[in-house]
Symmetry: C2
Subunit: 387 residues, 2 copies
């Protein structure tokens, strides 16, 4: 018996890679100076910060000054939504926001707070049974006072990809800024802010083998944005707070590494993932894939098992050394059915049986064999107990 | 000739201590699980998070559930000011904020944004020549609609301590929440939220040998606070974003270590610092101490040298292997005279000659000897050149 964990929750978080950690190490205790200081210690930190910015800009195909380092993907989403919203009172009566119903909570809850506390109008676009936004629905939702559209690139719970370029083109036709939560995409999709047509974009370091506690907001030159976290003039006066140099160096190293490994990892993980998508609905009765069968993240498999509470499955998998989740780490403590699944037309009892298996660098063919061995009898046994 | 840097900018930032870094290491690549996950990996992270919370609560003498982990001291200040302000429209017309003129920019700029964008009234209390707020001035500034008073515990630029317990008692008499930016205090002052009488308090890990990119907000039970960063239900629904477990463990370890070392470090550093305060005004003509001569942080020395631009002094010190600053790392890139010094009645030409020397664990008596050797002739030479 081995103690190795088969970790299949890479959409929730990833371990810091060895090369990323090595890149971070000098900035904790050695080159620790304040990047705003005038002395050598500070200049060294400042240089590392600007090299990291250039690296990130290069991967996203944008300008260095369009990269703002934040503390996480949620902060990046907050920064863009609040930052654009705060400009609205100064530019007349443009007060309408559009998001989709499958957004990450960092977008949904922020948009709702803007609506409730600050009198913004909010349109929440529906999705189809695969979790996709209809471009026509976006077109029809746009109003003369729409100030921002925020639609995620890929869904964390069901893996579905949105037609971002098509959606952003509609926004651009109407002169409305378009933001995308792209937290799930690095290492899995090529990111190009011009090809995607986005004006703002959020990333989170720990989703691609970087550290927790550091994120990125891409903000296109010319996009009006007031700072949502104010104080010192850091990050081009757009995000106050002493720069987390070690974390930022780690994020940049991780993003570059993820992008470089992408051509080899995507086909490898997609083949492994496709085995799960093909086999599990056959091996486990009354099972269907959630999300789009093809237009989905290449490492992401998710299923609806009928007649079961997924918590028991997750505990059984944990006891078998397999780490998985029901979809969103951010909502796993909550008891309410997933808003994403509900929006896709999944009823509450079916949603209760949702499993997400998200693969990563550590995943092997043997791991998939193990899942295919362990999961079907586990589900069968739990169904037997619960009936 | 040695390459060792004499680092005298501990008020700007500190290196991560060896024990702190060691405590953080397992949480990057080994116990990396999402603290909201249900599996063993996640539970281990969750446990580390809650142990860190208990450690911090113990040092501050408060309840665990009053500790919110953030990304930095600036975020903590933003969280409290915005979070209390956002509750205001829901509780009638209470719309007035009081701060002091010597606050950190994270407080001043945030309060100004609240005033400019969201129609809050803002009273900015003056200070005396030592940088201290007059309790009577606070008493007179309070209005029936005052919702928050925010006055820092110790000033970063001139080291002056505020009479926090006296000020907070006035707030309490009027039933108004009192927040303090205490970022400069860990390791230098005993922190006790009840003895201090504060309802909220901000700390930043990298100021006390913890990592950059992690901070703390203490928020007293019962203080109404809407989240300023929304999304998932992390940190008791008060701060969305995947928890930076390594950083949080580092901060807690560092805070405890700083508190444990305080009884030995404070007298040691104060004796070294007092040599600077006593000697430099004698060795360098037309020099005076900025801030209060006694009621100041024990590791903090700061001076006003007449007839000199401090940038040249800082560069000269850097060439001699001594890292120092003019006062605030957050404003060092700006050319405007320090608002703190201006508020203390220092004119712009005198403020241009402000030097801060902030001592720390690495500082030795020999370092102080070196400063006393190097600084007087450096200032004399630069004064000669500039006249």
């Amino acid at each position: 018996m081995t103690h190795r964990i088969i970790y299949l929750d890479h959409s929730a978080t990833t371990p810091v890679s060895a090369s990323v950690l090595a890149a971070m190490m000098p900035y904790f205790s050695e080159h620790f100076g304040n990047a705003s200081g005038i002395y050598s210690q500070g200049r060294r930190a400042k240089q590392a910060l600007e090299e990291a910015r250039a690296t990130v800009a290069s991967v996203l195909h944008c300008h260095d000054d369009e990269i703002i380092f934040t503390s996480c993907g949620s902060e990046s989403d907050n920064m863009v939504l609040r930052g654009v919203a705060w400009t609205a009172p100064q530019t007349g009566r443009r007060r309408h926001l559009i998001i989709s119903v499958v957004e990450h909570k960092a977008v949904i809850v922020t948009a709702r707070q803007l609506a409730q506390l600050f009198d913004f109008d909010l349109t929440i676009l529906p999705v189809d049974g695969y979790g996709r936004v209809d471009p026509d629905a976006l077109r029809q939702a746009i109003r003369p006072d729409t100030i921002l559209i925020s639609i995620m690139a890929a869904n964390n719970e069901v893996g579905t990809l949105q037609p971002i370029a098509e959606l952003s083109a509609i926004a651009r036709d109407h002169g409305i800024p378009f933001h995308t939560d792209a937290v799930q995409t690095p290492g899995h999709l090529p990111i190009d802010v011009d090809a995607w047509g986005v004006d703002a974009l959020a990333l989170s370091g720990h989703k691609f083998y970087g550290p927790k506690g550091v994120g990125v907001a891409y903000v296109r030159r010319g996009l009006g944005l007031l700072p949502a976290q104010t104080g010192g003039g850091h990050e081009g006066k757009r995000r106050a707070g002493t720069e987390n140099v070690a974390g930022i160096v780690g994020l940049a190293t991780a993003l570059q590494e993820a992008d470089e490994l992408r051509p080899q990892e995507v086909p490898r993980l997609q083949a492994l993932r496709d085995r799960l998508l093909a086999a599990l609905p056959d091996l486990i009765p009354n099972t269907r894939i959630s999300g789009h069968p093809q237009q989905r993240l290449p490492h992401h498999a998710s299923f609806l098992f009928a007649d079961i509470e997924i918590q028991g499955v997750l505990m059984g998998l944990d006891m078998a050394g397999i780490a998985a989740s029901s979809g969103s780490a951010c909502t796993s403590a909550a008891q309410a059915p997933s808003a994403v699944l509900t929006a896709m037309g999944v009823d509450a009892s079916a949603a209760a049986g949702h499993l997400r298996l998200s693969l990563g660098r550590s995943t092997t063919a043997a791991d998939i064999d193990t899942v295919l061995d362990v999961l079907p009898p586990l589900v069968a046994r739990l169904r037997l107990i619960s009936t």
